[in-house]
Structure formats: C-alpha cells, structure tokens
Amino acid sequence: MPHVALNNTPSGPIIQVSIGVSVMHYDAMVAAGMSPITPIKVNLLVDTGASSTNIDTNIIKKLGIMPTGTVSVHTPSTGATPKEMDLYAVSMFISGYGPMKVIQAMPVIATDFSSQGIDGLLGRDVLSHAHMTYDGMMDIVTISFI
C-alpha cells in the first residue's frame, strides 16, 4: 500500500487523491449504457479534527451522483443540535510509493470549500487505515496506508 510524504502548507498537510463514483455506481452506469465519469484529482487537507471525509460540492456535482444516506453533523457552530447532511458514495484512489490504495466505496459529506483553496478534508475514517507521523521540526507529514 502507498507511502505518501506531504509538505506542510500554511493550510496544513495537503494530500492529492482521485475521487470517482463508487465502483457500484460505475457498474450501474455501464449497465445503463452510460459513459462512466473519470475520477477527479483533488487536494484534501489532512484533518484529524474531522471524523469523516468531506468533499467540495462542485466535485460531487461533476460526478453526477445522488445522496445515498444522511448523517448528523456536529461543528463548533451547531451547538447542541447536530445538523443533518447528505452522504454521497464515492471511490478514492491514493497514490504514493508502493501499490495504489483503492477504496471502492465510502460515504462522504459534501461542503463548499471554494474559498479555502482546498477540495475537502481527509478525515479519520480514511486515516483509520493508515499510520501517520507529523514531523513539526522538518515540516513533513508522512502517511502509510495499510
């Protein structure tokens, strides 16, 4: 599985991955005689404060997928009452040193990141399959996926 070294940017550590429709959606499109959508390269902020991965709404729009679930979301501004948000099933492709890691289907939340210079957040749902080190002295973050 891939080993990825990330430079720490002013926003934090950014990882480039590709996001596509889930493998199951891809198969359904092929069966319907439709042209599957090529995975889109995105820059995600590695965020240990995010329990779930989050992708920009424009990327979700480009993939042309519908929600397949909902989830209650807690943020600093939601207070005691969580906000219900839609979940979208996507695939993720992570490259680095070693074989590519392919996640065939995972649920993500869609949020507008257009003003933040990133395409979303890589959360602990994906990091739970990795070993990560944060070297603040060298300003390098390394992630090894299992």
Binding site: A28, A50, S51, H74, M85, I109, F113
Partner: protein, 81 residues
Amino acid sequence: MALEREKDTYKRNMLALMASEGKFAVIFKDDVLGVYDSYEDALKKGYEVAKLEPFLVKKISATDDLVYFSRDLKIECPTSH
C-alpha cells in the same frame, strides 16, 4: 433533504431492523431490500435493484449516526438545485 420517503420506511421498520444493529440496511422507496454486513455490499444491492434511482443505505442503530468536525462547514445540498 433527499431520501425522505426512504427515511420514513426506515423508521417504520426500525423495530424489526434493530435485531441487526450495526449492519447496513438498503431501502428503496417503501421497501427494505435487505440487511448487509458491509457498506459496500449494501451499496451493491441498492444499485442492483434501484439502478441509478435514489436509494438509502443506513447503518442500523438505536441512535443517530454522528460525525464531528473541529471546523465549521458551509452546509448546502449539491443536488437541490
């Protein structure tokens, strides 16, 4: 918010589904299509039956699924317009 019909179906069937807590239910319109151990298998069943129409995959739980973010999120629905 999408999938209102499917969420109503989940609520109507929740007592029976609770016997499979922790697994994933697949719901299409008014029908529970099945219960699966993994998210991937549930999604596969959904696409097999519903094709490219909306369907719901829901982890069976007595409480709401919760996710946490240490930053604020701009909340909007990309499929609502």
